[in-house]
């Protein structure tokens, strides 16, 4: 190999290494929510973060859903040259491509659907909003600067679009039944993974795996308990996807895996989806009784030669597991279970852990696990560093430790109070998170269960974005009242000195520091 070729390859390698993308919800298939490639934000300059732009996209909300986590591609070759592009998904079957530098909409795609849900199906309501409910996923192609966007539309079709211009790359293909509620797509080694919940459209709650090479779809259902981890499944190094399951009986003997965690793998020969591992908390019966779903997307990370996974649920504990056997021999024993962090009152709607987890490793080699939680901190749960009373939610940070061969999560800090703390993102020593401002109450003393937009939208306020020191949890910056609306079931993404957040009113905000 001659020297000039080596120099070119080295240059390409370094470009690739410096590329700061956010191609999938949760950043990567493991759902770490860790932006390892951030070079612009730093703990020193994040205090100078400003609103760089905001854009009203015109997406019509459905129920409480509006905009999902923006995906980011740093360098897309377009007809007008390379651009950093955001892909923002609107629940009303809309995809927007936005120039990251300016907030200008480059193209918009709307998926028309003539589908009418069956009359006898569970439909409508906050839990079944219709439209696109899964954050799409982006993959690079063999052509540098060309990316494919994979989207599951309302009618259950899989679309493949060119990120540069929104044009179809392939004809839509059948992915799942229409009007279901899939969660964020994950892409791993040529297969797309998702799962569904709430029985929307009369569909059973299933895992779906779409094999891109053959177009075959494998599916598997836990017979009780929808799977509603917001960032979809997390995928381990051997290709097994993991996710928590919602309310339902946990009784593996009859094939029921509610209120647990399941591991599903694609059969390489048949492309079917097969159960390979499962875990049921020892108090799964209590979780089912009190509507304390295990509804959180797990996070997977390497640790001392093992692959570990952390997950949680509304009860407000974090479980640490070894993906080699997530529940041990009896499927009921994780490596470690934290005490209750919150939800002393066993509130099924406005307390507990919701959404997804996060994990990162600092420069000293310490592995961290972070979780958001809603509601007040449990009176008996303490962290070495705390920042005032937590009444509405916060981020809790743990260090992963091994002591005498036993693994544990050691409490490190709890952030300031946030009004419904949402899944955090770690970027270059900073934890970004936000309080969504959503009114999450579903039951009221005068009317009982009333989970309707008429009750919840008027009670929702506005989101507030925070930047925290990742090692101490200390607040470094906040957006104050600059964000005018709230959001539901959304999230943030970070790349290249910018953090993005969409709100219920259809506005996409970009905060950042000048390069």
């Amino acid at each position: 190999m001659n020297r000039s070729l080596v120099a070119i390859l080295a240059a390409l390698g370094s470009v690739a290494a410096l590329a700061s993308d956010w191609l999938t919800d949760g950043k990567d298939p493991q759902r770490t929510n860790w932006q390892k490639d951030e070079r612009i934000f730093s703990p020193a300059n994040v205090k100078d973060t400003k609103l760089l732009w905001k854009v009203e996209l015109g997406n019509e909300p459905r129920q409480m859903h509006s905009l999902f986590v923006p995906l980011i591609v740093e360098r897309v070759n377009t007809s007008s040259g390379p651009k950093e592009i955001l892909i923002e998904t609107g629940v009303s079957d809309n995809i927007y491509a936005i120039e990251a530098e300016t907030g200008k909409v480059l193209w918009k795609k709307h998926f028309s659907s003539s589908y009418t849900p069956p009359a006898n199906a569970r439909g409508g309501g906050i839990l079944c909003p219709g439209g696109i409910t899964a954050t799409p996923v982006i993959a690079p192609t063999s052509t540098q600067g060309k990316y494919t966007l994979y989207v599951a539309s309302w009618d259950g079709s899989l679309h493949q679009l060119n990120v540069a211009d929104g044009e179809d790359i392939a004809a839509p293909a059948k992915f799942m039944p229409p009007n279901g509620k899939p969660y964020a797509l994950n892409l791993y080694k040529g297969a797309l993974y998702t799962h569904t919940a709430q029985g929307c459209g009369g569909n059973p709650n299933m895992v779906y795996i779409f094999d891109l090479a053959t177009g075959k779809v494998g599916n598997w259902g836990p017979a009780g308990g929808g799977m509603w981890g917001r960032q979809g499944p997390a995928i381990g190094s051997d290709g097994t996807m993991y996710t928590g399951t919602g309310d339902g009986n946990f009784n593996p003997e009859i094939g029921a895996f509610g209120n647990g965690i399941i591991g599903i793998k694609q059969n390489p020969e048949t492309k079917t989806a097969e159960l390979t591992d499962y875990y049921g908390p020892s108090n799964a019966a209590w979780l089912w009784k009190r509507d304390l779903d295990m509804q959180v997307t797990p996070v997977i990370f390497p640790y001392k030669g093992k692959e570990l996974m952390a997950d949680a649920g509304k009860e407000c504990r974090v479980y640490l597991m070894d993906t080699g056997s997530i529940g041990g021999d009896d499927h009921r024993t994780p490596l470690y279970r934290t005490p209750l962090i919150c939800n002393e009152d066993v509130n099924f709607a406005s307390a507990g852990i919701w959404g997804s987890m996060a994990s990162w490793q600092d420069s000293k080699g310490t592995r961290w696990v972070l979780t958001p939680f809603w509601g007040a901190k449990h009176e008996e749960f303490k962290a070495p560093l705390e920042y005032g009373e937590v009444e509405h939610g916060a981020i809790a940070a743990f260090k992963v430790e091994e002591k005498s061969g036993k693994y544990q999560l050691t409490s490190a800090w709890i952030s300031r109070d946030m009004n419904r703390a949402e899944p955090p993102v770690i970027a270059n020593g900073i934890v970004f998170s936000y309080g969504s401002g959503e009114d999450t109450d579903q039951a009221f003393p005068d009317v009982g269960l009333e989970d309707t937009i008429e009750h919840r939208i008027p009670g929702s306020t506005h989101a507030t974005l925070y930047a925290l020191d990742a090692e101490t949890g200390k607040e470094l910056w906040s957006s104050g009242d600059q964000i005018k609306s709230w959001n539901h079931w959304s999230g943030i993404s970070v790349a290249n000195g910018r953090v993005y957040l969409g709100t219920f009113d259809g506005t996409l905000y970009c905060f950042g520091v000048k390069k």
Partner: protein, 242 residues
């Protein structure tokens, strides 16, 4: 005006506000979970069913039961006996959680010690002795209907050893009246009567050396109770449900 201003300044002090907030928080918690189902709900589901031949016993009650093994890891070490006491509860609250905390755990025997907080009117107006007995009777009948032998304990005595409380003197009279009703019910229903009162009282008062506050037994007090409880449980196991 001075008195009013003083009262206002006292009412508005940060400590007073904090105390009221805490009280409100406790009241809210009670309202949301009146029966106290959260306290042992999760723990119960983690208990395996009794092993073959296991003589599981549930001790069910209020603070006198809950504090029995305070500061110690085990309740009656070596015995499959389970503490399901919740401090501050009245008998109507206990009735709500009787299925979750007793029946669902499939014990052979339940030892019920309750009623003092009803007499003290902890959740509003004091209950009459008959109302308290109604609740105890309901628990006993639920237990028997589910194959559980029932031991009904007398209320433990109280004393003014560490304070001068007129209320406690009034409670003492009512404790005696309720204990008579419980004993009578046991004699008619074949529930076993467990007489803590007789062993712990002197001239109607809780012996000073058996308590540190005049209500809750200390270690010496619980030692007296333990011996009596063991005898009653042995009797209940021998007799079985009839």
């Amino acid at each position: 005006m001075f008195v009013t201003a003083l009262a206002w300044s006292q009412d508005a002090s940060p400590d007073r506000i904090k105390a009221l907030e805490n009280e409100l928080k406790q009241q809210r918690r009670t309202l949301r979970d009146y029966g106290g189902l959260i306290r042992y709900g999760s723990e119960n589901t983690e208990l395996p069913p009794p092993a073959r031949g296991e003589d599981r016993v549930i001790f069910f009650g209020d603070q006198i039961t809950e504090y029995w093994n305070r500061g110690r890891d085990q309740f009656f070490p070596g015995k499959p006996w389970i503490n399901r006491g919740i401090a501050g509860q009245t008998t109507d609250q206990m009735l709500i959680r009787f299925r979750q905390d007793v029946i669902s755990l499939h014990p052979k025997v339940v030892v019920i010690l309750a009623g003092l907080n009803d007499i003290a009117g902890l959740h509003g107006a004091p209950s009459s002795e008959e109302t308290i007995l109604d609740n105890l009777t309901s628990m006993a009948e639920l237990g028997r209907a589910n194959g559980i032998s029932v031991v009904l304990a007398s209320l433990t005595p109280i004393c003014n050893c560490y304070s001068k409380s007129g209320a406690r003197e009034r409670w003492q009279e009512r404790i005696n009246e309720l204990n008579e009703l419980i004993e009578k019910y046991c004699s008619q229903s074949r529930a076993i009567f467990l007489d803590y009162f007789g062993a712990m009282a002197e001239d109607g008062n809780l012996k000073k050396d058996l308590t540190s506050d005049g209500i809750v037994p200390n270690q010496a007090g619980y030692a007296v109770m333990a011996k009596l409880a063991e005898e009653a449980v042995a009797q209940a196991l021998k007799r079985g449900v009839q």
